[in-house]
Amino acid sequence: METITLTIDNKKVDVPRGTTILKAARQLGIDIPTLCYMELHDMNIENRPAGCRICVTEVQGRRNLAPACATKCEDGMVVKTHTTRVLNARRTVMEFILSDHPKDCLICPKSGNCELQSMAHKLGIREIPGAEIAAMSTYRKDTSPSIIRDLDKCIMCRRCEMMCNDVQTVGALSAVNRGFMAAVAPAFEQNLEHSPCTYCGQCVAVCPTGALTEVDHTPEVLRVLADPTKTVVVQTAPAVRAALGEEFGMKPGTLVTGKMVTALRALGFDYVFDTDFAADLTIMEEGTELLDRLNRYLKGDKTARLPILTSCCPGWVNFFEYYFPDLKEVPSTAKSPQQMFGAIAKSYFAEKIKVNRKDLVVVSIMPCLAKKYECQRDEFSVDGNRDVDFSISTRELAAFIKQANLDLNNLEEGEFDAPLGESTGAGVIFGTTGGVIEAAVRTAYEIHTGKKLDRIDFTELRGLEGVRQAAIDFDGLEVRIGIAHGLGNARKLLNDVREGKSQFHAIEVMACPGGCIGGGGQPLHHGNSEIIKARAAAIYEEDRKKPLRKSHENPFIIKLYEEFLGKPNSEKAHHLLHTKYFEKKKKIIVKQ
């Protein structure tokens, strides 16, 4: 590609044609502040509406200032990034933005982790001129099961709109209204609950301010922990341990499994268990279902629907229930690990410790916001008592730990409690894209062929490519596997299935880019995809270190089937561990 030379702040730099001023400046180590701009490089995700105008720079010969994020370099260009004209413009624009933003940082959930707050600090804003006569654009606050929208805090960076439409193709959010009242909202400015929202939480994950935040269940969890009549059980999803440390200043990709267990115990949970155990259980159910469908299919049974689709991601389930209800028989009927855990905890485990299920509270720690919605679904409760009572995100857990004056850095390594804390490496890798299907392959292969695997690492299933495919040799039977993360990528595979063009036997789908490690409830990556890569590496590291790495080898899983469930896909297993799907899209009412 053609290289051009330009000068930024008196330094010469060579860049390929097409490079923006922002990237050229970063190449020189020059920091141009940005607000609306966001890039997730490895996933080809870029948000560049050039709307905030904070990154403006002075280009010689140009009449007005140029946004660095969206202005392409030209040969011989002379750019100044911090002249007085630029500084004054940046400050004034920032004053404009802040003049239309609430000043309740003290009780804002984003305080301390807010890009707008940091920028105000960075630009040294100490007062907002004219604030006393400045009208604010105000909107109705919306609370859904997972997400709170507080549009008073929206700065129109459009990141959420881009994630919801371009990346996830959910189409729940759009820019609405015009001018001063412009904001990003669902159709008719209704609540998210009445929109196609899947609660994947990617909008929350990228929101630079407190406009989009999760529903915080920490107060309820604190209340049950303080209630002596309740036995409180906690389960932790695999992706949490690979990211929680970031909230305590640790390097991205630091595994904090043991410290997290200690912290949870210190917070007063009676039993600290692991969702990874339920992930192993999921593999037993889903893997068996896969083999069953596959064998029936190979025998020419026309009722056997292939490909089978994974069903552990609640955002993904919401997505196909809304957009592909005609395919609702295609996904595996296996519940997600969170819900399998809840079902087993409130039946098998409750009996075991002789506690009435009404007095047993199950809390889950999830990298996910859709899990909050999932545990509230009607089909996951018995007589109004939920299998999983509360789901809190990695971010909420971090805040909770800090409230208890615990510093994760200085905690001892603890061990999960038995029996629902035992897991294999297969359960751990659920946390990253490709992990569920790899875990399923490890088990399905051995059950189908009756042979031991020579290699356990299926690297062909790993990576951050949005859509991946691989063919695995099941001892002469080629099993074709598709993987998609991000709902937009999933939609492509689903369209093929709908049109009968899909050549896969099994497809894994994760709603969030990167899988659960990039979930909507994780510590904010602020657009740095290196963080997601580091978390994935940590997940695979934990898997490698585990003595057992295949779900069917988990001794407690074996025992659970012997003692309680019978066989995978047995009637009891079906009752407790499987579910069904519903059509979500509301029908247009027609008056007769």
Binding site: R53, V56, V93, G130, A134, M156, G179, A182
Partner: protein, 597 residues
């Protein structure tokens, strides 16, 4: 078609239509039929004559006699006297305000004398719903010449040499624009006509489309030939139903005559035109926003480059020109680049259409050579200020422009001089203000428009303009302080410097230019808390002159808030604390006892 000897042209422009010129045309037709004259006399509905405040206007050709303020009941007299007996109906003629003379022809009117009609050449002369009349007035002759005798490069050279610059506001050289679009290769390209005229007080494009739609269609086809596009789109405001109807008729007729569509004039060149509707968003006048709107999206502008000529409608190279620019093309082809470039100033060639409005006697559409002075426009063509008031300022460029003052009266109007004066050409609205207009309020009015029309995409335009408006409001309420003026200026400069598109980049112009030219007026508002023009209600004080007051109590009785007290037959007093400044008392007082301080 055999031409009838006499044509009675009834103005069908919006102004006249609204004053029921339709009924006038109908009455004339009835009278003609009643006198069995239908073989000799024909009634024709035309586009705007440009005499909007005199309507309904009727012109009898070939005598070239113009009647104004014609009512349906006048039809009989016009037919009986003028047509049958050859006697001009004196009472319906225009009376020159200065000489008191009755004028027969429009050309004799002082307003017409300084004008030169290139864009409006056929407006008010032809029946816009009859393609044969257009053809009789040279329509499609340029297209024929281009398609049969010229290469695209030759045509582009003529347009370049003519010095024609875009009439939509920016003034970008049209030939160069075509050349760039021609050079970008693609399997499909588009020609777009921007007819989303949205400046308050501007109706040039509307008049051209209503009066001479073929001028635009022909030029679009010529442009299509030059840039190798086979598809044209006209983006027009849905609020212009008459223009839309006439365009549709014109397109259908042109297709019927083989002047649009497949294989035009058997040359192998095909070009089709579709109409796309705007839906009320001023920002869609900006090219990229217009294109997004045509693609079914919110009309939000995007960063340029890429320019539409590289990636426009549906990602294909697209050439966007406005109505008036297109209307200049055919005459340039037919009469040559040299002819066109001989008109106007060094860097602004040809003519410009202005919509005169505001406190001026002759409201209407005018077309003058570039370089005509503001004085000529306002005082000679426009007939001066209404009610003998004093000229204060003229706003060009609508909400994106600035105001010109007395010191600019003798500046030749062209693209560059207007920019130098802190305004801009814009699309051609020219609004005249007199001594009674408060310039702070005028600036506030334009900001009100911008705030309403900002798309909301970029922060400085979305929030900054709102803050400007609030501060102006604050000042007109008498709550401003001198430091506010510096803050006002800084906000203006930053909004100009940082906004994403032309709307935000020019929205502070009305404030900046009034701040520059009428600083004292702003200062009066923030220091003495007075509005020199007496327009800002909050800065007024109603006061009763005791000597003039006879104590009739009429004012006290009409006051809605009981702010006026006084004994019968004794001078009354207004309590300024209670007074809401509605002015009811002043209107009621028969003794001129109530004044505004």
């Amino acid at each position: 078609m055999t031409k009838k000897k006499i044509q009675i042209i009834v103005c069908g422009g919006t102004g006249c239509s609204d004053k029921n010129s339709n009924a006038v045309a109908e009455s004339l037709t009835i009278e003609i039929e009643a006198n069995a004259l239908e073989n000799d006399v024909k009634v024709v509905r035309s586009g705007c004559f440009g005499l909007c405040n005199l309507g309904p206007v009727v012109r009898v050709m070939p005598d070239d006699v113009v009647y104004i303020g014609v009512k349906p009941s006048d039809a009989q007299e016009i037919i009986d006297e003028h047509i049958m007996k050859g006697r001009v109906v004196e009472r319906l003629l225009f009376t020159d305000a200065l000489t008191g003379k009755k004028l027969r022809s429009a050309q004799e009117m002082s307003g017409y004398r300084k004008q030169m009609r290139i864009v409006l050449r056929n407006c008010g002369i032809i029946d816009p719903e009859n393609i044969e009349e257009a053809i009789a007035h040279d329509a499609y002759e340029a297209l024929a010449r281009v398609l049969t005798t010229m290469t695209p490069d030759e045509v582009i050279k003529i347009v370049k040499d003519s010095g024609l610059r875009g009439r939509g506001g920016g003034g970008f050289p049209t030939g160069l624009k075509w050349e760039i679009a021609r050079k970008n290769k693609a399997d499909e390209k588009y020609v777009v006509c921007n007819a989303d005229e949205g400046d308050p007080g501007a109706f040039m494009d509307r008049s051209v489309l209503e009066g001479d739609p073929h001028a635009v269609l022909e030029a679009m086809a010529i442009c299509g030939y030059c840039i190798e596009a086979s598809k044209g789109l006209i983006y027009i405001r849905a609020e212009y139903p008459l223009a839309v109807a006439r365009l549709k008729t014109a397109i259908a007729q042109a297709k019927e005559y083989g002047l649009l569509g497949e294989n035009i004039m058997n040359t192998g060149f095909s070009f089709d035109i579709e109409i796309r509707y705007g839906a009320g968003a001023f920002v869609c006048g900006e090219e990229t926003a217009l294109i997004h709107s045509m693609e079914g999206l919110r009309g939000e502008p995007t960063v340029k480059p890429p320019f539409p000529a590289e990636a426009g409608f549906r990602g294909k190279p697209t050439n966007v020109n406005n109505v008036e620019t297109f209307a200049c093309i055919s005459p340039i082809i037919l009469k040559g680049a040299e002819w066109f470039s001989s008109i106007g100033t060094e860097k602004s060639k040809g003519t410009k259409v202005f919509a005169l409005a505001g406190k001026i006697n002759n409201v209407g559409l005018i077309e003058v050579p570039m370089g005509t002075t503001l004085r000529e426009v306002i005082f000679e063509i426009g007939g001066g200020i209404r009610n003998g008031k004093k000229f204060k300022a003229a706003q060009t460029g609508g909400p994106s422009g600035g105001c010109l003052t007395e010191k600019h009266l003798d500046t030749p109007i062209d693209f560059d001089n207007l920019v130098a004066a802190g305004s801009m050409m814009g699309s051609g609205g020219l609004i005249v203000m007199d001594e009674d207009d408060c310039m702070v309020s005028v600036a506030k009015f334009f900001l009100d428009f911008t705030v309403e029309e900002s798309c909301g995409k970029c922060a400085p335009c979305r929030i900054g303009n709102k803050r400007l408006h609030e501060l102006l409001e604050h000042i007109t309420k008498g709550k401003g302080v001198p430091a506010d003026l510096d803050r006002l200026r800084n906000m203006c400069l930053v909004i100009k410097d940082t906004s994403l598109c032309g709307l935000g980049q020019s929205s502070p112009n009305p404030v900046l230019s009034t701040l520059e030219n009428f600083k004292d007026e702003y200062e009066a508002h923030v220091t003495a808390k007075k509005c020199p023009a007496g327009k800002c209600r909050d800065l007024m004080e109603y006061f009763i002159i005791a000597e003039n007051c006879v104590g009739c109590t009429a004012c006290a009785r009409v006051c809605p808030v009981n702010a006026i007290t006084g004994e019968r037959k004794e001078p009354h007093v207004i309590n300024p604390e209670i007074c809401i400044k509605c002015g009811a008392c002043k209107e009621k007082c028969k003794f001129d006892a109530i004044i505004i301080k």
